[in-house]
């Protein structure tokens, strides 16, 4: 440890450059991981709530709607079906437009359609049920979350791609800077390395101090990045709690284990810190191995 710190102190500029690049990379990686997990959690939530809303024509009778409901139940693909009458729809509308009396005055229960809110057992039943409903008498419009899920899927896919490209850029940049720094230090120790080789040192023995130094820097940078990340999250937590009020608990599945990503919790933070630290160690190891490889 003493040797590592002495070596780092002897090359302050290279050490600072490597540390700052690594710190920046790991902090951004942590932020990106949290963002991606949050979006993935949101997507999972939407996907687990397969819902169709079918609006009936104004003239459709209650009995007609009940008959459709029975047919739907008979398919065995529905979890829950809720009938919303014209009156209930009007009450919902009233609540929704309570701050705008003009809008309310223009509306009466007669012009609002009755509807069925259907929770499917699985998202894959949504198109089947939608097609079934379109053929039923009195049906005016069928709305389901296919578009929302599809849009969210597209968004997640694009964000994931962008993050992967950004990750790759950060990874390559960090490895190059770390490898350059280690190469410089290796070059400074060229004569020592030559002597060690003459004495019969193995490649691992020669590499060890450079790898140890790099790993130390990686660990230190990841600790700093994790502390910064924790400070950022704790500062934003109260704002996010208000901003995202009403959002249910979001979870993602990691290796068959469920991990809650919202609201922020200790387990999610520890997972993020673990991933950031592993990423830091990976960068340090690859960079130091690549740099020392040139002289061995």
């Amino acid at each position: 440890m003493k040797d590592i710190i002495t070596s780092l102190r002897r090359t302050p500029y290279q050490t600072s450059a490597a540390f700052l690049v690594l710190f920046f990379t790991l902090l951004l990686s942590g932020i990106l991981f949290i963002s991606l997990s949050f979006i993935q959690g949101l997507l999972s939530y939407v996907e687990t709530r397969p819902r169709i809303i079918v609006y009936f024509q104004i003239k459709a009778e209650g009995a007609e709607i009940r008959a459709v409901q029975k047919k739907l139940e008979a398919t065995g693909k529905t979890e829950k079906i809720e009938y919303v009458s014209k009156k209930e729809a009007y009450n919902i509308y009233k609540e929704f437009t309570k701050d705008d009396p003009v809008l309310l005055e223009m509306t009466s229960p007669d012009i609002l359609p009755a509807s069925l809110e259907i929770d499917a057992k699985s998202p894959e039943y949504l198109p089947v049920l939608a097609d079934f409903l379109k053929d039923q008498p009195g049906v005016d419009e069928v709305e389901f979350q296919k578009d929302i899920v599809q849009n969210l899927l597209n968004l997640t896919r694009n964000i994931r791609r962008a993050i992967l490209v950004f990750f790759a850029y950060l990874l390559i940049m960090s490895i190059i800077v770390m490898a350059t720094t280690t190469s410089f230090k290796t070059a400074l120790k060229k004569e020592d390395i030559a002597l060690q080789r003459l004495l019969g040192a193995t490649n691992l023995y020669i590499r060890q101090p450079f790898i140890a130094e790099s790993v130390f820097l990686g660990l230190f940078a990841s600790i700093c990045a994790n502390v910064s990340l924790a400070i950022i999250l704790f500062s934003l937590n109260s704002f996010l709690s208000v901003f995202l009020a009403g959002l249910p608990d979001l979870t993602i599945s990691v290796m068959n284990m469920s991990l809650q990503v919202w609201p922020f919790n200790l387990m999610f933070l520890l997972t993020t810190f673990g991933i950031t630290t592993l990423f830091g160690l990976f960068i340090s190891l690859v960079a130091s191995l690549a740099a020392t490889n040139r002289y061995l």
């Binding site: 004569e191 002597l195 060690q196 080789r197 003459l198 004495l199 019969g200 040192a201």
Partner: protein, 225 residues
């Protein structure tokens, strides 16, 4: 046992650094390798360290043909050999103890064993009182003692000394030679030099190299070119 069998080494432009050299060195033998500068002394030492490869012929160390291109146990070979250079080649950011201990650390010795052997070697080479000093604080003679201590610790059976007294004054040269004498009973020592006085006064086997060829090989010989 070291054996050179018709060994020829060529420089990149075709000149011969060593020409058909053949000789054998028994275990625990002390030999002087003498000859003018550029005669091929260092080439012989470099062949033994497998820093260079011969163009033809065989170099055998402890029954292993190290000149064979398929020989891959370089680490084991070098861990048998201690080296002493004219320019000492000590690590300037390490103190005396650490410099000597390096020779054992690369072989994976335990810390307690390193301590015992290093302290003993430093006592034998007469530099134990400067154990925690750094190279910049030592004289040339002291640096060479450190280098010799480094070469003898860690059960290294062969010592290659390449002009080890070249940078030393006559008195220090004799002090260093006395140290080599202490270790000659249980080490094979190949001592490359062109110091006539040493060779003539401490009679040992002499191999004379000239223009890349072994021109003389005498038991208890003197320095004659």
């Amino acid at each position: 046992m070291i054996s050179f069998q018709n060994v020829t080494v060529k420089y990149p432009y075709g000149n011969l650094a060593l020409n058909d050299a053949t000789f054998e060195i028994a275990d625990n033998e002390f030999i002087y390798l003498v000859g003018p500068s550029g005669a091929g002394k260092t080439t012989i030492l470099r062949l033994l360290l497998r820093e260079i490869m011969p163009a033809s012929g065989r170099v055998i160390v402890d029954n292993e043909e190290i000149s064979n291109p398929k020989y891959h146990d370089l680490t084991t070979l070098r861990q048998k050999i201690g080296i002493v250079f004219q320019d000492f080649r000590v690590l300037h950011d390490k103190n005396v103890y650490e410099n000597v201990a390096l020779s054992m650390r690369v072989k994976g010795y335990a810390a307690s064993e390193i301590k015992n052997q290093v302290v003993e070697a430093l006592e034998l080479t007469g530099i134990s009182e400067k154990i925690f000093m750094f190279p910049a604080q030592l004289s040339a003679g002291e640096l060479q003692r450190v280098a010799i201590a480094r070469a003898v610790v860690g059960d290294r059976s062969i010592i290659l000394a390449d002009e080890p007294t070249g940078n030393l004054d006559p008195k220090t040269t004799w002090d260093v030679m006395k140290i080599f004498k202490k270790f000659e009973k249980n080490k094979t020592i190949i001592f490359a030099t062109h110091n006539t006085d040493i060779v003539n006064s401490m009679k040992r086997r002499v191999i004379v190299v000239k223009n890349g060829a072994v021109v003389k090989d005498q038991r208890k010989g003197g320095y004659e070119l």
